[in-house]
Amino acid sequence: MRECKIVSKKFHLPNSHTLSVARKNGGYEALEKLKEYSPTQIVAIIKASGLRGKGGGGASAGEKWELMPQNSEKPSFLVVNCDESEPGTFKDRQIISYDPHLLIEGIIITCYAIKAKQAYIYIRGEYKEYQDILQGAIDEAYGAGLLNACDITIHRGAGAYICGEKSALLESLEGKRGHPRLKPKQKEPEWYFGNPTLVNNVETIASVPFIVQNGAEAYRAFGTQKSPGTLLFAMSGHINTPGVYEAEFGTNMLEYIEQYGGGVKNGKKLKAVIPGGVSCGVLTAKECEGLTLDYEALRAVGSTLGTGGMIVMDADTSMPEVLKNILEFYHEESCGQCTPCREGSGWSDKIMKRVLDGEGSKEDLEKLFELADTMNGKTICVFAPSISIVLLSFLTKFRKEFEALVL
């Protein structure tokens, strides 16, 4: 496993959040390239790099940027998604507290490429401490005259997981409840008060300066053919040294857990891993053998890479309890617009409680399968289908543990 630091290069430096340290270590040097390249050339470089969105979906960043009009009468906007609420995910927070200037540099380049004059960073309400660091960096950037061509405004959320979903985020940014919008059939930009808008994750934008400065091929030197580059993978749960460690796509999962995470806590055996935030299907220890960390490999085992935030569980973990914990989260966070989601998240949580209290029956387990079916693909956003995936992965892979509770 080779070390590769694209986004986390400066994290370890003392006072890495300040402009002077950023500048001394190559910060804002990619801006020089803006004299050389036109906006459309920048978009082409990002597309050629194969950069994929790092907020969980893994969509091609370049293809999304291409959807933004270059000659629009309406103003264009950039919205940076720093809602980071997917349980098990805490990587964007590292960027805004340890290298906020890298994000600002990425925003300046992106605004140039999509011809936006205003960028918003939508940050979850619980990140006030890190928001203050980021605001300090933005103030410094203004002071140094770096933000002449675009403005950056931090917009604080207030405790709603669903606002991480891009259209809910935009609703929230328009001053409304965070309700996801119906998706259009054709490919088009997002819309903010009816204006064309690009929404990208913090880490996606923070990857832009490296690519623009070093070229698409330099980025492709890391990762795999289909998943180029690196990700700030993270580990939490039953692990000796949890944290965020950048690695290239295609890295062996168990080696990563061993090398950076120091293996499973207390010398216990590994039981399961949720690969990228709780909304990904759970994997058994056996499934993790030989598995690599990239979008394609995870898909091939019926899960997803998600945000790359792995939750590691040791051999003594009760999977029904883990499932109950995740269902509580969904029950709490459903935005309530769609009946299958609003009702299904609540029902499944209540049924699991009954099962854990020893009052469940075999029919209850059947009911959970039925609910998983109802919630899959019949809703406005993919929140409810995620619940289905999670339910099915736990119920089928650890079936015996659930059956033992309803005998």
């Binding site: 103003p75 001053g175 409304k176 749960g237 949890p242 709780v278 939750i311 883990v322």
Partner: protein, 145 residues
């Protein structure tokens, strides 16, 4: 109880208005300003926000009640937000929650705080307290209570 924005906050609002294509966007920023100014969001404050944002009061109210971090009532005791989501649970959040039961604080069970790598975690007055142990909780509360 009547409400009016402080002079400082009125200036902040005026500056923010220049940064958004519509005053409606100021709904959440205004709700935050009110909450820091008064400690909670009263119905009179909702009227004041409505005036600033051109959003009808009922809609401002709907928005305020959607987001868990806005409070529509005064809160007397020290508020302790403890994460109960998976990584924290796996790392002993239940023990922390149980220990807090005996304290003169309001415990809020909240979802993932984005500190899963330093679990278990609680948040008090916008500040995260990480890698919690019972002893750590004791000394933190001693300082704050």
């Amino acid at each position: 109880m009547s409400f009016s924005f402080s002079q400082e906050n009125l200036e902040k609002i005026a500056a923010l208005k220049k940064r958004y294509p519509s005053p409606k966007a100021l709904c959440l920023p205004c709700l935050w300003l009110v909450q820091y100014q008064e400690g909670y969001i009263s119905l009179d404050a909702i009227d004041a926000i409505s005036e600033q944002t051109t959003i009808p009061p009922m809609e401002v109210y709907r928005v305020a009640t959607f987001y868990t971090m806005f409070h529509l009532e005064k809160r007397e005791k020290l508020q302790v937000d403890v994460c109960k989501t998976l990584s924290c649970k796996l790392c002993g959040a239940d023990d922390i929650l149980q220990h807090l039961e005996s304290k003169d604080v309001t415990i809020n069970h909240v979802e993932c705080l984005g500190s899963c790598g330093t679990a278990p975690v609680m948040q008090i007055n916008d500040k995260n307290y990480e890698n919690l142990t019972i002893e750590k909780v004791e000394s933190i509360l001693e300082e704050l209570l």
